[in-house]
Amino acid sequence: MLVKDCMTRHPVMAPPTMLAAEAQHLMHENQIRHLPVVGDGKRLLGLVNQLSFALDPGALASLDVWEITRHLSRLSVSDVMIPADKIETIAPDRTIERAARHMTDHKISCLPVVEDDDVVVGILTEVDLLHAFQLMLGLPSDGVRVTMRMPNRPGEFARLTAVLGRQQWGVMGIGTFPTPRREGFYDAVIKIRGVDSAEARAVLSQVPDQEIVDIRDVV
């Protein structure tokens, strides 16, 4: 899965001249937390998130309510946005794991997706990645979810798939990862369609050297 498969295309965007108050309203209306700011030709100029609207209490302390209102009514998006040179972006043909790494490395919750250096074609947020995660593990469809533990050596996974193949079972989702706190083992989570858990347990428990760690119908 690449960024372009999981990003939100045509994100809501704002011009830099938009009033900050209007941008705040726009984000609220659309229920979004990130608002790319673009100029002509959808070129990225900045990004507005919820923190952008947090005003410095110190700066406001000396002002009375009228002055605050006047200050706010003049504030435009370009005054509050994070400027483009401080924004991490990603290209649409990168992998989503690379995008996720990018986000965890910088502790950020969204990446504007850009083509041709700075033309915004989409946005990738934590929520998009969490959707992708659900899809990969086959959450949307019904089936049996099994976690198999297997030794970390070549050919182990093939044994499992051979069994699935013999049964002609369809797999809707799959994920593997090194077993936490146990060197030399891998866990594979697979979602199988059209069987019940008893049947799946009976068949999968026959796989030599592998162990069913967890099995459930209802995810």
Partner: protein
Amino acid sequence: MIASPTTGPRMPVLKVENLAVAYKIRGGEVEAIQNVSFEIARGETFGVVGESGCGKSTTAWAVVNFLGANGYVKRGSIKFQGQELLGKSGEELRQLRGDQIAMVYQDPMQSLNPSMRLGDQMKEVLTVHRGVSDAEATRRCVEMLDRVYMPDPAAVLRRYPHQISGGQQQRVVIAMALLNNPALLIMDEPTTALDVTVEAAVLDLIAELRRDFDTAIMFISHNLGVIARICNRVGVMYAGELVERATVQELFADPQHPYTQGLIRCLPRLGADKAGSVLYPIRGRVPPPSNRPAGCVFSPRCDYVQERCRLERPELRQLPNGTFVRCHFAEVIDPAAWIPSADVRLIPPPAGNGAGAPILEVQGLKKYYPLQGSSLRDVVGLGEQRFVQALEDASFTVHKGQTLGIVGESGCGKSTLVKTIIGLESSSGGRAEFLGLDITGDLSDRNTELIRELQMVFQNPDATMNPSYTVGYQIARPMERFGTVPKGQIRAEVLRLLEAVRLGENYYNRLPRQLSGGEKQRVGIARALASRPDLVLCDEPVSALDVSVQAALLNLLLEVQQEYGTTMVFIAHDLSVVRYFSDQVAVMYLGQVVDIGPAEAIYAPPYHPYTEALLSAVPIPDPAAQQRRIRLEGTVPSAIDPPSGCRFHTRCPRRALLPDGGRICEMEVPPWREAGNGHRILCHIPLETLRDLPPVITVSP
């Protein structure tokens, strides 16, 4: 069905609420559209359908603020991704239009600059808006043209707009609109000017692009078949109001508003014929914006009208099945119990289907247009003379009182055939006899008697009527000229004909510009009938008209045929209309008749491969109908140098059925194969193989 992961409430890409658009005119203003509300989600196609003059295009123009100097949005709101578009400055709107909203119009030449190469126009989008290098822009344009199935994209970039066909121009415009990856694409009758085969390919393309680019599409069309094929949800507009909004399945299976029901009753279902079914036109016509009724706008034409409808304007309200409808009585109206109102005259099925004596016999008719070369040899007459072979070897017989329908893509010689028969063109070879008289010669050789018996109804009534003569005079002229009616009775006869085409006496003194398109075509028909001809040739008489007018005119023609026993040759590109109207159908391809026979035989296996492709392309106003997908590649080849052997071999999708990949199709002219009952197919493929092909269209009950 796999549900997508749960998502939060999605904002629609476009949300139009209570929109009213007014045009300032001398002495006040008119509200062209009122209270229009709809929304379009990402990746969704929203269809807008209705007769002409109902405000479909005005709605689209309001979204992009192209209303012109005297138009303005009077009330309501238009939100694009949550941002209010109304009240935005010109500069802000320009930026949005360039970057996020794109429009495709009916006529692709409106959007293309005729003096620039296509490549330069397309690349401009990328080099100006995105600042990409020229080489990169070229690469992407080629990629996008490839995406819209343009043959040989690199070469197309070097051409000028006039050097490619209409269908290709429209693809270039769509590719251009998509280069900038818009969030919203507004398409105003994008396929109306295209041939049915090209239209099918463009519609496939739009559906694919919507899926891949997640674009929201607003799709305006008057053609319910096209809407059924491409849209998820549909809004029906009537007289500036949205009268019904529903999913496409609901709309066709269970239309709620009487207007929607009426529209659907106007359409000939593919497979219906004149003996078995009747078209019910909606009476009256769309009121002009300045003169709308006080209550429900549809009340003057509605069969269910009650006192409340005349007094109180209905609100758009939601029914339990989710459909929105603007009608007081939507729940009580049962379309199944509908009976045609008294003023719709029903045509009795033709009495005694026995064909009369042959009236028109055409044998191997040819029409070649000489081509003037430009070299010196050509000028002095030494060059080889070349011809446009517009009509090659057409043979058929029309019997008295019957209708021969002719179908085919544009450029297939349909009009040439008709013009040759009527004498507007002299033929280059072959035999054509009308009532035993030879009609291959020039028109000037014909005697008045013959001219009187052969009359024609043209596609465009505007172009065939003298704008400064009154309707009465135009109809009277053939009577005077041919002396069919004694001088003293001409006026009475004209009035009788006007009555026959359902125009009253008050039309006698009107000028053509005071008539609507449908009325003009009625006058055209009345004029063709004035000399009481034996044969009327109709060249696309209803294709420029709205469906309800089309239904009324088809009924009228049928009635006239019943009454006068007129024989007709009927050209149309709409296969359902031809099926409905004709007894015999001839399918033409590149100047040749390739498939001819009784109407019901043409529309069922065995098909000629070309007929099969045409049937697969025809848009069916029923989302539940299944059509096998057969698409023809490319366009009709040039008639100057037609392909050898079978003329269809360059595009034939069925050649592979023959041994050796159909080499024989390139070498030899195919034989006529008799499929029984007068059905003949010009093809190398044996009939048994053609018979085994499944039907193209299956309509689930």
